[in-house]
């Protein structure tokens, strides 16, 4: 079994940086997820919207990577919001206390509106 791949596509929209994830988010995703995030200069990417629409599986190691990203973003005064999570993973994010540190929007439009307000 090969390591599951995570693809991250970065887009800019209305001054917001979209990170679109595809595949699983697990311990194998560190390079894709954190590597891509760390390649974005904080001064030029103040608002980041994470797109989970094409993510089917997130495990606790994957959540840990998201926590690490939120920690680094907080230190760099960046705002990070999310959309596209399934109801289950929205519940999981809430369960571990992540909703106090990021917002989950129902869709991309709502996320962009919140981050450009």
């Amino acid at each position: 079994m090969d390591a599951p791949e995570t693809t991250v596509i970065v887009e800019e929209k209305s001054g917001v940086t979209l990170m679109r994830f595809e595949g699983d988010i697990t311990s194998f995703s560190e390079a894709a997820l954190l590597g891509t995030y760390r390649g974005l200069p904080p001064d030029e990417h103040k608002s980041i919207l994470l797109d989970f629409t094409k993510v089917e599986y997130i495990n606790s190691s994957g959540i840990a990577l998201i926590i690490t990203m939120l920690r680094e973003a907080s230190s760099a005064n960046q705002r990070v919001h999310c959309f596209g999570l399934t109801p289950h993973f929205k519940k999981v994010f809430e369960m571990v206390g992540l909703l106090r540190y990021t917002a989950i929007h129902p869709d991309e439009g709502a996320g962009l509106t919140a981050l450009t307000a």
Binding site: A3, Y57, S61, T86, P87, V96
Partner: protein, 149 residues
């Protein structure tokens, strides 16, 4: 399916990350056959995945020669999943994650698995170094599922 006697499905997985998804998929299919709702199946999938990850990483310490054995036992009322490894078992007390500390770097980002397991299934039991090995036992009840619906 409901009136059937107790049945068992057994899996033997290598201690390699990624194989937890095999157990997760099997548990999902069995739960669906039993009539659990989709949200409960999603909860079970995460709990089984986390129990297997724990067995692979911490129990068998990623030694591929050691197997993680997953035994699913079902009857008319409930589904039990035992995840067995060769480690010392879970002995620490499971506490809620302190996200404030995690986000300030005062606590490791990881360490959420057991907390998720305990909050997603109806019963959890940790047994250390039994004849079978150490195991995590998860149970979900169909009756509870009906209450949720």
């Amino acid at each position: 399916m409901m009136a059937q006697p107790k049945a068992t499905v057994e899996l033997k997985l290598p201690s390699r990350l990624g194989f937890e998804k095999v157990a997760m998929g099997t548990a999902s299919h069995v739960a669906k056959l039993m009539g659990f709702s989709d949200p409960r199946i999603e909860d079970l999938k995460t709990a089984v995945s986390e129990a297997c990850l724990n067995a692979i990483e911490h129990g068998n310490k990623l030694q591929e020669s050691l197997s993680v054995v997953v035994i699913l036992t079902l009857d008319a009322a409930m589904l039990e999943v035992k995840v067995i490894d060769k480690g010392k078992g879970v002995t620490k007390k499971v506490t809620a994650p302190d996200m404030e500390k995690k986000l300030h770097g005062e606590e490791a980002s990881r360490g959420l698995g057991l907390f998720l397991i305990e909050n997603l299934v109806d019963e959890v039991e940790y047994v250390s170094e039994s004849v079978e090995g150490s195991y995590t036992r998860l149970v979900i009840h169909l009756e509870k599922d009906r209450e949720v619906k």
